[in-house]
Every structure is written in structure tokens, then in C-alpha cells.
Amino acid sequence: MTDCLSLVLFSGTADKLHAAATVAAGAAAMGRPVNVLLQYWALDAFRADRIAADHGLAFDAMAPGSSRPVHGTAAIPWLETFRMAKELGDVSIQACSGSLETLGVDSDRLDPLVDGPCGIASFLLAAEDGQLIFI
């Protein structure tokens, strides 16, 4: 039994990536192994040619009265937070191979932060001894 934390990232907007990066980095800092699986728009956000682009905000942020707190704060950008998480601890970032196929993305064209392509059984096996979060 390990106390690993697994995150399935689906969303590719900056606010959700930022929240996910915070959880991953926090867990890594506390010594927990972290497994991240990138699917769909989160995977698209890790493409080397657009990882540094503006990834916008989720629909939640467009609601009337929303304070839209993500931009213009002192928060560290999500990409930097993921990078720090990998430096701090045992953090694996995998690309869902089914999503690669669906989006027509070659794994060679992902940012080097991504460790490689991964099938769902391998991810679930790594994830089974801990909590799993879907963002």
C-alpha cells in the first residue's frame, strides 16, 4: 500500500490546469508519489507548440459575478508549478494513448514534461493503491 495520488486531467483551461498543478506539487512536496494522466484538452495543452500559449478559462469563470481570479495574481503559472512538482518529488506525467490517437497528436510533439504515452490499464494499476482525482 502506497499513499500515491493520481490525477486524471481532462480540462485544458489555465484555471483547471493551475488547480491540478497545485495539488500535484503539494502532494510531491509531502513525499507522495504522483501519477498524472493527460486526456483530451489537458493533453492538447501539453503540446510543445502551444504549452506556453494562453489557455483561457473554464466556463465557470464566465458566469455573471465571477471574480475571475486566475489572471493578474501572484500565483505561479501552472506550467512552472508542474515543473517544480517534478523537481520536488516522484511525479509521473503520462499521455493517454487513446487521446493521442483521437486528437491526432504524436507523442514526440509533447512538452518534455510529459514522460511518455500510457495505456489505461497501466495507469490504473499505478493508481490503485491511492486516491484518484478527475479534473
Binding site: 493517454c96 494513448s97 487513446g98 493521442l100 490517437e101 483521437t102 504515452p117 500510457c118 495505456g119 489505461i120 490499464a121 497501466s122 490504473l124 494499476l125
Partner: protein, 86 residues
Amino acid sequence: MTATLVELETISAAKVIDARGAACPGPLLEAKKGMGTVPLGSIIEIWSTDPVTKTDIGAWSGKVGHEFLGTLGADGYERVFVRRGK
């Protein structure tokens, strides 16, 4: 226990599953489906063009009690061998 390449070459599988062209989790699901159709102790062979299939089927085999035997490269795809263990 993984078989040697020479041993794999000599295997005559009870069932060959052609999952070429399918993305994850397609080949895994086809393997699961096919495994139920062969007797205990017999071997299935899954053909896949998805590079993660061998790792994934290895993970699945270990988890559910089958024996992952190994992989042979073929012309543009891989042949993955698993012995039914339960």
C-alpha cells in the same frame, strides 16, 4: 514468466485477435473478450499497432491472473502473447 523470442516464435495460439488500427483501450478490451473464449492454460495472441498495448496488456495480465509471455515485432505491428491463468 516471460518467454524467449525463440519460444514465442514456436507458439501456436488458441486464438489470434487482430486489433490493428484500434487505439487504447481497444486492444485491451479485445484481449479481455477473446480470453473468455479459450480454455484455461491456452494462449491468445493480440495484434496491435498501438505502441502502449504490450505494456498495458502486461499490466492487465499481472492484475487479473494471466501470464504475459512477451511480444514479437511484425511488419508495422506487434504480436502480444498471453496465457490464460484464470
